[in-house]
Amino acid sequence: MQSHTYSGRMSTQAFVVETSGLTKRFGDRTAVANVDLRVPRGAAFGYLGPNGAGKTTLIRMLLGLTHATSGTMQLLGRPVPQERAAALARVGAIVEEPRFHGHLTGRENLVVIAAAREWEAHSRIDGALARVGLSQRADERVKRYSLGMRQRLGVARSLLADPELLILDEPTNGLDPAGIHEFRDMIRRFVTEGRTVLLSSHLLDEVEKICDEVAIVDQGKVVAQGAIATLASGAKQTILIATSDDEQALAILSEHRGVESVATESMGIRVTLGADAGDDISRRLVHSGLAIRRFEPARASLEQRFLEITSRLEEAA
């Protein structure tokens, strides 16, 4: 078993990423609109949004890959781009698909990146390769690597910085289920070690399983931000119902004023409540002579909250 603990000189700010009014425009199109983001230290933070929402553009600005049109950014307490070099010295990142020189081996690719980092980065190469399970294949050319191996090599490359902050942009894209599971475990271990992980993804399930906090982004704007449990609890109450006569139950529910929507499913009826009408609904069903076989609240999920928020935005637009 390997033990990895971040023991570097950690900055003491409560937030490892802070942006204020961050905006990026490409001509007439606004990719990132006035984003105020705060990523707390020592957490797995999800940056969640549909494809094209501006997630990668924000990450690219944070990492100095492209310039912001306006706004300010701080990484590990340092303003970027003014102190970009010092800030990025303790940041590891995978942006989109990790890229390598195919004609070099995995180890040689890490040597190339270590040369651009502090002297100690070179001494971390073997440990980083071992950590992602690539020691045995490290001396093969990368062009022979599978996508999963490239992703793992990308993580190894990020670890050369002994990072306080790991920025991972859609890290599980293209991975098989076993690879995704392995990746989730790895991210959680990073957080346990005291590192902060900023994970961008369009996969709600992934963010919900990995992250402690989340920002939901849509059309370049952060529309909600906070702990996942807090955000999900703001979702409308949904109840799953099964009765002895679901058609009759459906008719009763459709006429109830406290019901916002009903939908039949293979296992019964999914009811979304506009108000706290659960008790009244159960009474009406029983008074109508129906036997209730199932009456349980659906677990409030981030997905539900996400869909609520984004659909509200679409309606507003």
């Binding site: 890229r99 390598f100 040369a115 651009a116």
Partner: protein, 273 residues
Amino acid sequence: MSTTTVTAELSAKRTRTPRSPRLVSAEFLKLRKRRGLVISGLALTVLPMVVAYTILLIVHAANPAKHGPAGGLSNFSDSIDLLMTLSVIAAILIGSTLGAGDLSSGVFRELVVTGRSRVALFAARLPAGLALLWAFVGIGFGVTATASNVFSGSLHAPGRTLLLETGAWLALLSALSLALALAVSSVVGSRGTTIGILFAWQIVVTPILLQIKTLGSLREGLLGAATDRLEPSALIKGPTEVTMSIAAAAVVIVAWTVLPLALGAWRTATRDA
């Protein structure tokens, strides 16, 4: 059990440890591991010299009365002409790979993410490219210099001064071509386009422009005219197309080196990664 640790003295060490040599070493690693490039470089600089002198030796051995010794000053001059042209081609291949390799593979982005200065990343490329190019050109020149002396027989062999002058001139010429290729490929971001542009410019357009007498002193601004001016006199067979002072040649060479490299560095520093 292994532990990833960072000590408190890191920042102090960081300032003491020069990183540029490691960047140059990494650039050199990227180049020397490209089998196709290494084979092309050797095939352009070493192989033709070996083949040329082997043929000269064979024909001399077969008919000494008709064909003189393989060595000597005249054959040295001819083989240097060939080596010069082929060194320029090798320089363009290496320089264009240096400038566009990280961009085409997507690794430039990964290097930028380290926080390392983009100008430092750019600056590391030139010495790495020169190390590989000069190794090739040096071997090719070594073959030529050795053969022209060892197999000179009754002919006048090139002296030490001429060999030194010629070696330095070849080194300069190849380095200038490499710098130009590095700069152009850093600006356009494409190896293939760079090779096309520079092959056309160096091998076709420049010689034609040098021949057009109506251009007059404008031709002094061409890199080819400046490098021709510095060619060792013992290698020059006919009248030079453009006459200019050594100082003017030096100014032209500096301009053709500094301006394109500055442009390449600027583009590397400002492009979206």
